[in-house]
């Protein structure tokens, strides 16, 4: 251990000022960097992390804006949740999906029309078995956007039957 006399262990005023300014500047830069990373990388990665898991053959309403896409996987079963918005009215969107989901490889297994929303229960065949629900919800106020949400489970043929999504609203 260096035996510098204790009385000599003083920094010059210039060093003190330089260290204080440098540490404050580094802190500000780090904070800005973390914020930038959070906004440009981290949040989009979480919000749209499941975008690649939306089946490429799944019909997306023309012009609808993807708002979120999340996916999770477990034991050969992948669950995808995605939401879109569109300025078009809900009836037009429902009409589009009624037609688009009735053609191969998609089949509508059930339809549940409610006051402000319509849910299509769908199944899709192909390399993977897909089943889930698509809900079209009318805007809750004038000039609002129509809300489209998808919850889909994808599985390979071996685990069919054990891979489901539960969709619904409490009380309905």
């Amino acid at each position: 251990m260096s035996a510098t006399p204790r009385s000599a262990r003083l920094s010059s005023p210039g060093e003190v000022v330089a260290i204080l300014i440098a540490s404050a500047a580094v802190w500000a830069v780090v904070l800005a960097l973390v914020l930038a990373l959070f906004v440009t990388v981290f949040i989009p990665a979480i919000q749209f992390g499941g975008k690649g898991e939306i089946p490429t053959d799944f019909p997306v309403y023309p012009g609808a804006q993807l708002q979120s896409a999340m996916a999770s996987g477990f034991s050969g079963c992948t669950t995808v949740s995605a939401t879109w918005t569109t300025p078009d009215d809900a009836l037009t969107v429902v009409g589009f999906y009624k037609q688009a989901l009735s053609s191969s490889p998609w089949t509508i297994t059930d339809t549940q029309p409610l006051v402000r929303s319509t849910t299509f229960y769908v199944e899709g065949n192909g390399d993977q078995h897909r089943e889930g629900a698509l809900t079209v919800e009318a805007p809750s106020f004038a000039n609002g956007s129509t809300y489209i949400s998808l919850a889909l489970a994808k599985s390979n043929q071996r685990v069919v039957g054990s891979c489901k999504v539960v969709v619904g609203t409490i009380g309905s």
Partner: protein, 221 residues
């Protein structure tokens, strides 16, 4: 026949501030100063090093509160840089895990289990590393104080000190751990309690610095 004076040991680090009649006021004012961003931390480090200086001079009184910036600058600089490096490593791994968890389908399910195991290993690793780091706090602070800001950044000297003086390093680490708990306990129990415990924890650390440096520095015969 007067009793021989007892040697100040690691156990005395906890109690020595109370021998000073004005310790409460000085600790409270110094803790208040320490709340100022950047300057406060430097002043607190300078104050605790001044307390260690006084102990070397045989003066067991708590130094008056103040802006001991010139005394604390070099250790503050080294602590700041190492804190920054540690935080960068820690948060990079943390964000990496969070991103991997939000995209589990890009990895297979077996990889997901590995990821889950990796997360537990990471949490365990943080606990292990932060506790082991206490071994290097006192030697690191003394090396930075005696060698200067830039040369103090070299971790080799502190690591060598720990291997050269394992018993003292372990005892100093335990006292530093107690000091760290004491410093934060005021904020945990009642937020303004930090005004007492932050400064007191710093004085306990000052005691550990003094005993470690006294015990490990080779003096000429």
């Amino acid at each position: 026949m007067p009793a021989a004076p007892t040697v100040f040991g690691y156990g005395d680090c906890i109690t020595w501030p109370f021998k000073s009649s004005e310790w409460v006021g000085r600790v409270v004012v110094q803790s208040l100063i320490a709340l100022i961003p950047f300057i406060g931390s430097m002043a607190l480090i300078g104050w605790l090093l001044t307390a260690a200086d006084r102990l070397f001079e045989g003066d067991h009184t708590v130094p008056p509160a103040g802006f001991y910036l010139r005394r604390g600058a070099r250790v503050y600089f080294v602590a700041f840089i190492w804190g920054l490096v540690s935080a960068a490593i820690l948060y990079s791994i943390l964000f990496g895990f969070m991103l991997a968890f939000t995209n589990p389908t890009r990895t297979g399910s077996s990889t997901f289990f590995l990821l889950f195991g990796g997360w537990f290993a990471f949490v365990l690793g943080i606990g292990l590393v932060t506790h082991l780091a206490f071994l290097f706090f006192v030697p690191g602070a003394i090396e930075a104080d005696s060698r200067g800001a830039i040369r103090g950044l070299n971790p080799f000297h502190a690591v060598a000190d720990v291997f050269r003086h394992p018993k003292d390093s372990l005892l100093a680490a335990l006292i530093s751990y107690v000091a760290w708990i004491l410093a934060g306990i005021g904020a945990s129990l009642c937020y303004v309690g930090i005004l007492i415990t932050l400064g007191y924890g710093a004085l306990v650390f000052a005691g550990a610095l003094y005993v470690y440096e006294r015990n490990t520095t080779v003096r000429p015969a």
